[in-house]
Symmetry: C2
Subunit: 168 residues, 2 copies
């Protein structure tokens, strides 16, 4: 009996999460083999992990270049807006723009960092005009020249839990 709150994740949970965050399409049965459990047991655990919010979603990662998105940009924005209501409007606008893949609020010189996927320079210009219309004046745009690494894999395994003392 550990704690009342919510079961802490055990090694098997971590293993399952790690498999799924790398290859979501691996079958239940295959996971069961790898973690030495039965397939229904794995199923139960995955459902629990989903319900408790450890797994947010499952997605297919498409190849941007094959689909014509050659222009990945990082846009740094300083908003001189300081009313929180107006900031809410601004942020909601970012969320609604399909070319904005990510938006983060940052410390430092700029308030927001946007990751933006555009097909060509014309699309990029259209996008920047949209930003101007939102009242954003201070923008700095950096072009992504080359993607060295792109992943969503959190080091849940590598961190310090690692002890591959698999029983038997």
């Amino acid at each position: 009996m550990e704690s009342i709150v919510s079961k802490v994740l055990d090694q098997v949970d971590i293993q399952i999460l790690d498999i799924l965050q790398k290859q979501a399409h691996v079958s239940n049965a295959e996971i069961a083999r790898r973690v030495n459990l039965s397939s229904p047991a794995v199923h139960t655990r995955i459902k629990r992990l989903e319900n408790e919010g450890y797994i947010s979603q499952q997605v297919a990662i498409l190849n941007p270049e094959k689909l014509g998105f050659d222009l990945l940009c990082f846009v740094f924005i300083s908003s001189n807006i300081h009313h929180s209501e107006k900031l809410d409007v601004l942020e909601e606008a970012f969320r609604q723009m399909p070319e904005v893949l990510e938006c983060h609020c940052l410390t430092g010189e700029y308030d927001y960092l946007l990751k933006v996927a555009n097909k060509d320079r014309r699309d990029l210009q259209t996008f920047i005009r949209k930003l101007n219309k939102l009242g954003i004046t201070k923008i700095q745009t950096s072009l992504g020249l080359r993607e060295i690494k792109y992943s969503s894999v959190l080091p849940i395994w590598d961190g310090d839990e690692v002890d591959e003392g698999k029983f038997e």
Copy 2:
């Protein structure tokens, strides 16, 4: 004969890709219903899309906060290295580091932008020391204060009707 390489994607392909990039777990049969095709036809198309590289991978997105990753950072790096071999070593080092989720080569003042997931300040310090050992001197780190949007969904559907007359 039009193009030898690969048939251009049609509307149904785009629809399938769009469904999968948002919800990878949707069953073949369900997709078939949505695009008005039979289940085997959808299966064939998805296999083709995978083989031709339109779909790179399928992953589960985990919840960073639930897993103790409260410190998302963006690290800007200027390398004063100009030998391409040494740059290769550097980039490979970035790829190997599990806390580095993304690494992009950028235009602008800094050469590299890294997105880094750490659990706490101690981990962050450890990470920055690793960078120093690699000979990196000019580093600027911005903390992610809040995530406004996080997505890998390319606007293949929303942007405009994808109907390129380009071969390959």
